[in-house]
Symmetry: C2
Subunit: 131 residues, 2 copies
């Protein structure tokens, strides 16, 4: 966002105020995609218990590469979902935590994740019915 854009609440566009994810140009589609990306979801859920270091996130989220973790953290930070804190130490110490908005989104994603984890049995039977 550059300084020539006025995004104060008084100057928000109509499209922005009437945000509707079914509309092709709604900015919420992009944010939703980041939040619900393969690794985005898992990072948000992994940060729910509190502040964590990069290495701890990497251990927690099985299968994520260093590159994908770093890239997804940057995207979620740009969306305002997580905050990055870098301490001026040697070796460098970097911590991440959820912002207020990020925490609310993470709770909702966790709710969906728990539901899917818990309903694997029901899903399996449903898959049997249609196959």
């Amino acid at each position: 966002m550059n300084s020539t854009e006025d995004n104060s609440p008084d100057n928000l566009t109509g499209a922005f105020l009437r945000c509707d994810v079914m509309a092709a140009d709604c900015p919420s589609r992009k944010v939703l995609q980041h939040l619900t990306s393969r690794w985005g979801m898992l990072i948000l859920v992994a940060l729910l218990p509190g502040t964590q270091r990069f290495s701890s996130l990497r251990r927690k989220i099985e299968g994520i590469s260093e590159r994908m973790l770093s890239q997804t953290l940057q995207t979620l930070e740009a969306d305002g979902m997580i905050a990055r804190h870098s301490m001026n130490t040697i070796p460098p110490h970097v911590e991440y935590n959820l912002t207020e908005v990020g925490a609310e989104a993470a709770v909702k994603i966790h709710d969906l994740v728990k539901f899917i984890e818990d309903s694997q049995t029901a899903l399996l039977f449903a898959q049997q019915r249609v196959s």
Copy 2:
């Protein structure tokens, strides 16, 4: 799934019973990816009000192609999230609705979608702070 497999709750594998999305091989990761794919989310939310025809879904979800709608409906059907009903008429009449599991998942996704739609202002300010 064939009839020689016993998938009753008593015979489920350990991995299946201890379903954990943080584990790289957990089947819930695949299902979650389908549910939260760009079009998967919007189809589930669009079906929340009730049964709909292919053409009605296509009109509702701006920007979706016929191919992507058809493909995503098939994936969600295979996961047991939606049911497809084809009437033997000319021209063909095909309807879709959420299954019980699909409806529960759709409510949770809708909750996330509504939150993101409603919090665009907060998100924008958060994005400004980090940029």
